[in-house]
């Protein structure tokens, strides 16, 4: 290193600082080239009409076009349902292997399988559910032959809202388990003992202390689950072939130019999606930081 008259200081005007940022520049360059700019490009193009002029028309369509609005609503509904359902189910599962006191080996298995399940999403998951609850699926057959219940005549359809939600749950609740298990570990045993010592029943302990402490974590993770479901594409596509018009599928259809030659409308839909995802993710991050502050 060249000898300088002045020692390196933390002064941001010092040219040495610029050299420091050089170290992370490949990362930033990568991010700009392949994440930030492509996304920005789409978002900018959302404001262009078919002749390339600036317009709000595409964005306006998000609120006016009934197909698009119903697409968003459908995605929001599925995401909310699977976030809530996956959240609750995942919470109880995480509870059972932490505070619930099941053997350590069971916890380890649950964690591994949760990692597997959340990675299994996409085409194989869709096929697995078809084999389970499709018209000739295993469970469908068992219910029909053993219990005499034909779920399909009763109105169930795997390729519908209910079916997709059920399928999404397969990767939603494992995500909840993986995040909540450490959070439940952080519940100190002494809190329960102190509460009991002061006269509280188990229920009162949960109601006044444990649940309030866990709520930011639980809610935050549900936000994450929401975002997770909202942005999912592959599973739905493989399962329903595009027949269920959730927003991701609708987006693909729009941009791939099947219907109208207005890819900008698709880009506008992407903008809407990004905003919803961002709100959800920010909710998750904010709530996580709140819970960390309390559990210091």
């Amino acid at each position: 290193m060249a000898q300088t008259a002045l020692p390196a200081s933390r002064n941001s005007a010092n040219p040495l600082n610029l050299k420091k940022w050089l170290g992370v520049s490949p990362f930033f360059l990568f991010a700009i080239l392949f994440l930030i700019w492509p996304s920005a490009r789409l978002m900018i193009d959302a404001f262009l009409d078919t002749q390339g002029r600036f317009t709000f028309a595409n964005l306006a369509q998000l609120f006016q076009n009934p197909t698009i609005v119903s697409s968003y609503l459908l995605s929001i509904q599925i995401s909310a349902v699977t976030a809530l359902g996956g959240g609750i189910f995942g919470f109880f599962l995480a509870y059972s292997v932490t505070i619930g006191g099941l053997p350590k080996a069971l916890r380890s298995m649950l964690v591994t399988f949760s990692a597997v399940a959340s990675n299994f999403a996409g085409v194989p998951l869709a096929f697995a559910f078809v084999a389970t609850l499709g018209r000739t699926g295993l469970i469908t057959a068992i219910l029909k032959n053993v219990f005499g219940v034909n779920i399909y005549t009763a109105g169930f359809n795997l390729y519908s809202f209910a079916g997709l939600s059920l399928t999404y749950m397969y990767f939603q609740f494992p995500l909840m388990v993986l995040i909540m298990a450490p959070a439940l570990d952080a519940l100190k045993r002494e809190w329960r003992e102190a509460a009991e010592n002061l006269g509280a029943t188990v229920f009162q302990y949960w109601w006044h202390i444990a649940l309030p402490i866990l709520m930011p974590s639980i809610l935050g993770t549900m936000f994450l689950l929401f975002a997770n479901s909202f942005g999912a594409y592959a599973t739905a596509y493989a399962l329903t072939g595009g027949s269920l018009p959730i927003i991701t599928i609708q987006l693909r259809a729009q941009i791939s130019g099947d219907v109208l030659h207005n890819p900008s409308l698709g880009y506008a839909m992407a903008v809407g999606m990004i905003i919803i995802m961002a709100v959800s993710t920010i909710g998750y991050i904010w709530l996580q930081s709140r819970s960390e502050r309390w559990l210091k």
């Binding site: 100190k188 009991e196 006269g199 509280a200 309390w294």
Partner: protein, 354 residues
């Protein structure tokens, strides 16, 4: 009848017996410490009183009522934990008022009691703060107030000072003792720090490997330890192997040096090997005053500890520590000198063989 009575208590986990033959009667308003190293069973015993562990055998009686099988939220005991255990989602006031609100006391009474407790621990200005905004010492005081707000019959403290800085430890332990005296509440204090136990207890129960070694006042425990463990654990101590010469007169020989002891242990015969112990502060230089035992020694090392000067001497072949008060005008011998030290017959303790 004693206010709090533990009779024939024992606790077994799987294949390990953690507490055995524990018998203790505690009077109302008494401050008792359970003192011992990690794993001696003191915390387990405390938790049995609190109801978090069930005794394998024995009974616990509080104010005449047998509470052995009562659930922890049915006993009226207050517990203070080492890790404070304040509820992080509640303010100081809410923490303190928790027990009362669970009991559905009228809100005005609750508010009054909270104010009373806050002034007791001198944290009135922090009523609306959350635990993460408080220091360790403050949190522990809030924990104390929270337990006391419920008007418990017994206060149980599980190493409450271990997680705190040294200075806070000293001031907080006096504060705890002062509050306990003022309220006249019975208390059991678990600690591994003998200085803590000695300074604030009415009585100390020294425990080791699940058994009670000795029960007594701090004075008794320190000056008249009954077993080698108690002697070693509480305060510094010199120990040595010696041989019994004359059991009737209490004459023993260590490394050819003769000592006379006023303490006798039954069943000793001439020729038996015994363990003797002498507290460092019981030695003095023979040139100053002569007591019953006068022995030759050699000065090995001198360490200046402030108010105390610790001199390492060799008597016979054994090293002993001798503590003497600092006196700027006293001329101390030099290292390597030969000298004479003296101690009384009562100072030579003969310990139970383990």
């Amino acid at each position: 009848m004693a206010y709090l009575s533990l009779s024939n208590i024992s606790k077994q986990f799987a294949d390990a017996v953690v507490v055995q033959d524990f018998n203790l009667d505690i009077a109302k308003g008494e401050f008792v410490s359970f003192l011992g190293p990690s794993g001696c069973g003191k915390t387990t015993t405390l938790r049995m009183v609190a109801g978090f562990e069930t005794p394998s055998t024995g009974n616990i009686t509080l104010d005449g009522a047998n509470i052995t099988d009562k659930a922890p939220n049915q006993r009226n005991v207050g517990m203070i934990f080492q890790a404070y255990a304040l509820f992080p989602n509640m303010t100081v006031s809410q923490n303190i008022g928790f027990g009362l609100r669970i009991r559905k006391e009228p809100e005005s009474a609750v508010k009054e009691r909270i104010a009373e407790m806050l002034s007791l621990i001198h944290l009135e200005k922090h009523a609306d703060k959350y635990p993460y905004q408080l220091s360790g010492g403050q949190q522990q005081r809030v924990a104390l107030a929270r337990a006391l707000a419920n008007r418990p019959q017994v206060l149980l403290l599980d190493e409450p000072l271990s997680a705190l800085d040294a200075k806070i430890r000293v001031s907080l332990r006096s504060e705890i003792r002062a509050i306990q005296k003022k309220l006249g509440i019975t208390a059991i204090f678990v600690t591994h720090d003998q200085e803590e136990a000695l300074s604030i207890s009415d009585r100390i129960v020294v425990m080791y490997e699940g058994k009670v070694e000795q029960v007594g006042t701090p004075f008794e425990i320190y000056n008249f330890p009954k077993t080698a463990f108690v002697a070693n654990f509480v305060g510094t101590l010199n120990t040595a192997e010696a041989e019994m010469v004359d059991p009737a007169k209490g004459v023993i020989k260590m490394d050819g040096v003769q000592f006379e002891s006023a303490n006798q242990v039954e069943g000793q015969k001439k020729g038996d090997k015994v363990a003797i112990a002498i507290r460092p502060e019981r030695f003095s230089f023979a040139s100053e005053q002569k007591k019953a035992n006068i022995v030759d020694c050699k000065i090995e090392n001198i360490t200046f500890l402030g108010s105390v000067v610790r001199i390492q001497i060799t008597i016979g072949n054994t090293k002993f520590n001798m503590d003497t008060f600092n006196n700027p005008f006293l001329e101390l011998p030099k290292i390597g000198d030969k000298s004479q030290v003296t101690c009384s017959r009562e100072a030579v303790l003969i310990l139970d063989r383990q």
